[in-house]
């Protein structure tokens, strides 16, 4: 199998996106179908690559025939392709849902932007070059701002502007980090930086890591940079929120995992510590705990279903950051698994929420009282998604959270237990507010509904619900892939030798 053809995963969405204005002149429906078909192609191709890579070990794809570290390369590991598959899957489902909603004037451009956002997220998880990652993060953040603003309400513009401001500050910090890295090491290739990062003065290294944090924490919805989350999620259309939480934050978390662990990290014993004078592992744990607590407590006070789901999404990102901070392989496996579960369940929840909001005409959960009596099917699907996120036994979130707890217990320092207790306490809060929504839905109350729902919408949520249930019942379905993915983060030497050749060890 020629790995250089993996570039098609990035080139095809870009080419189709450039052609979209021409399709848009023919008809708006066509652009939506084209977007869906592109994602379907990418999804299928990513799965075939994933199978190959899981069997044969990580591969690289070279761009322009310039070998790394001189040119830009793609790094195709199990983790990259697994996350790419999730991203394309969520994109595919959301674009399928998108076909079903009534055509609006801007829909041709919207499907174009959707294509670019998902394509860029796919590129972020595969690229092996620091500056290239920055460029695709920019495409992602500009596209996301457009998607948020596309609802054409005052609120949505406010959300989009907030996101733009955070994104711009973040990208400036990221560029500073890139400048410092290039100035000291003279390279931009992630593998070469990983090989030589410990040569940097520890104070400067800490500063680089700190600056890098700014760039990727915006997308990953982590604590100091997540003030945009409530406004943007409230302002955007709910099916756009499915992309925000399923695609954008997945890409952000990948950047944190790859760069913090593989590139900035050093293996010590059974865990990876992030290099520098400051103890970034402890900082990540603290940030994870703070994000989770803020997210869960804020979700508890909200009445708007989009905001509740947004804060919950933030909280899950905190849990994953906690797992990364723990830094051993079990916790990382759990983190990656939780990322998958979160992307699928949140996409499901947001799409169902979109249908309910269309049906009820309001996003306030008080107005949804009695919806479960009226439309049992949708309410049950919502409950499935919610159970998946909470981690009710025999739903998908349960298994990933177990992995994370297991990893945290293996660290067995008093501070980890202390942090873990906060995470578990926050999980209880989560149970409370999700059950409140479900309870409200099944309350006995007459409700009037409008707007028929397109069958495509039903098909997309049923597909997602099937995935949630399957993973919950057979959690070992992915265990092979998950172990290989977390081992890929953990085995830094393998990453370096795969990209730069076996010779660098000499």
């Amino acid at each position: 199998m020629n790995m250089n053809y993996a570039l098609l995963l990035i080139a095809v969405p870009l080419a189709v996106a450039f052609l979209q204005p021409l399709f848009g002149m023919i008809g708006k429906k066509i652009t939506k179908w084209v977007t869906f078909l592109t994602f379907a192609f990418n999804f299928a191709y990513a799965i075939s690559l994933l199978n190959f890579v899981t069997a044969n070990g990580p591969q690289i794809a070279v761009i322009g025939n310039w070998r790394p570290p001189f040119g830009i390369n793609l790094y195709l590991s199990t983790l990259s392709l697994f996350l790419a598959t999730i991203i394309y899957f969520v994109g595919m489902i959301v674009s399928f849902y998108f076909i079903g909603i009534k055509d609006k004037k801007i829909d041709d451009k919207l499907s174009l932007v959707m294509l670019l956002v998902v394509g860029a997220a796919g590129a972020i998880v595969m690229t092996g070059d620091l500056f290239n990652m920055f460029v695709f993060i920019e495409i992602l953040s500009i596209g996301t701002a457009i998607l948020i603003a596309s609802r054409d309400k005052g609120m949505s513009y406010k959300g989009a502007l907030k996101y733009m401001i955070f994104g711009s500050i973040g990208s400036a910090m990221l560029l500073f980090a890139i400048g410092f890295t290039y100035g000291t090491l003279g390279t931009l290739n992630l593998a070469e930086i990983a090989l030589r990062f410990h040569e940097i003065n520890p104070t400067l290294a800490s500063f680089i890591v700190l600056l890098f944090t700014g760039g990727v924490f915006v997308e990953a919805e982590l604590f100091p940079f997540n003030m945009w989350v409530p406004d943007s999620y409230e302002g955007a259309s709910p099916h756009i929120n499915a992309i925000l939480s399923g695609v954008v934050s997945t890409a952000g978390i990948y950047a944190i995992m790859r760069v913090f662990m593989t590139v900035f990290g050093i293996n010590i014993g059974d865990k990876i510590l992030i290099y520098g004078k400051l103890n970034f592992n402890a900082i990540l744990i603290a940030i994870g705990v703070i994000t989770t607590i803020i997210g869960e407590l804020s979700a508890l006070t909200q009445k708007d279903i989009k905001k509740i789901l947004a804060f919950s999404s933030m909280a899950q990102m905190g849990v994953i950051a906690f797992a990364i901070g723990i830094g051993n392989q079990t916790a990382l496996t759990g983190g990656i698994f939780h990322l998958f579960n979160h992307a699928i369940s949140k996409a499901l929840l947001f799409l169902v929420a979109a249908m309910i909001i269309r049906n009820v005409g309001s996003s306030n959960i008080d107005d949804m009282e009695g919806f479960g009596r009226h439309n049992k099917f949708l309410a049950i699907i919502f409950a499935i998604g919610a159970f998946g996120i909470i981690g009710i036994p025999f739903f998908n979130g349960f298994w990933s959270k177990m992995y994370i707890i297991d990893g945290a217990v293996m660290r067995s320092t008093p501070w980890t237990y202390f942090a873990l207790s906060f995470i578990l306490g926050a999980a209880l809060v989560e149970v409370f507010y999700y059950f409140r929504i479900i309870y409200k839905m099944f309350n006995d109350k007459k409700i009037t509904t409008k707007n028929r729902i397109h069958p495509f919408a039903y098909i997309s949520v049923i597909l997602l619900a099937i995935v949630v249930l399957t993973v919950g019942i057979y959690p070992s379905l992915f265990s092979n892939i998950l172990n290989s993915a977390s081992a890929g983060i953990f085995d830094r030497v393998h990453y370096i030798t795969t990209v730069l050749g076996m010779g660098v060890l000499r």
Partner: protein, 120 residues
């Protein structure tokens, strides 16, 4: 001869000024101006990273003649390439944020972010 310490510091101080502006200003246009300042700061920083004493512009011309391992006369071209990309990205971001600012003014009738209350 000015040391590159001066340029590094200027770039970072400019960045901090921009950051301070974003954090404290209430007017959207002023916030966007502050963001532009941070972008400029980053570009200055990157160019400084690539600066080599007595280096020429990295273009091979008749007057420069030839270049080899023993007579490297150029400044580092890679940061300049990065700055080129960063400028274009900055342009895109600024254009989009200004359009969003126009639409916000249409919707709320003000550019002050604290006065944009209520659902509209």
């Amino acid at each position: 001869m000015i040391s590159s310490i001066f340029f590094y510091s200027t770039a970072f101080v400019l960045f901090l000024i921009g950051l301070f502006g974003v954090l404290t200003r209430k007017n959207i246009i002023k916030i966007l101006v502050s963001l532009s300042i941070t972008e400029t700061a980053v570009n200055l920083f990157l160019v400084t990273v690539g600066y080599i004493k007595n280096g020429k512009a990295p273009i091979l011309t008749n007057t420069i003649g030839s270049i080899g391992m023993n007579n490297l006369k150029f400044v580092d071209p890679l940061p300049q390439a990065l700055v080129l990309t960063a400028i274009v990205i900055g342009l895109g971001t600024t254009a989009l944020s200004l359009v969003i600012a126009i639409k916000l003014y249409k919707n709320y009738g003000t550019l002050n972010i604290t006065k944009m209350g209520g659902k509209r």
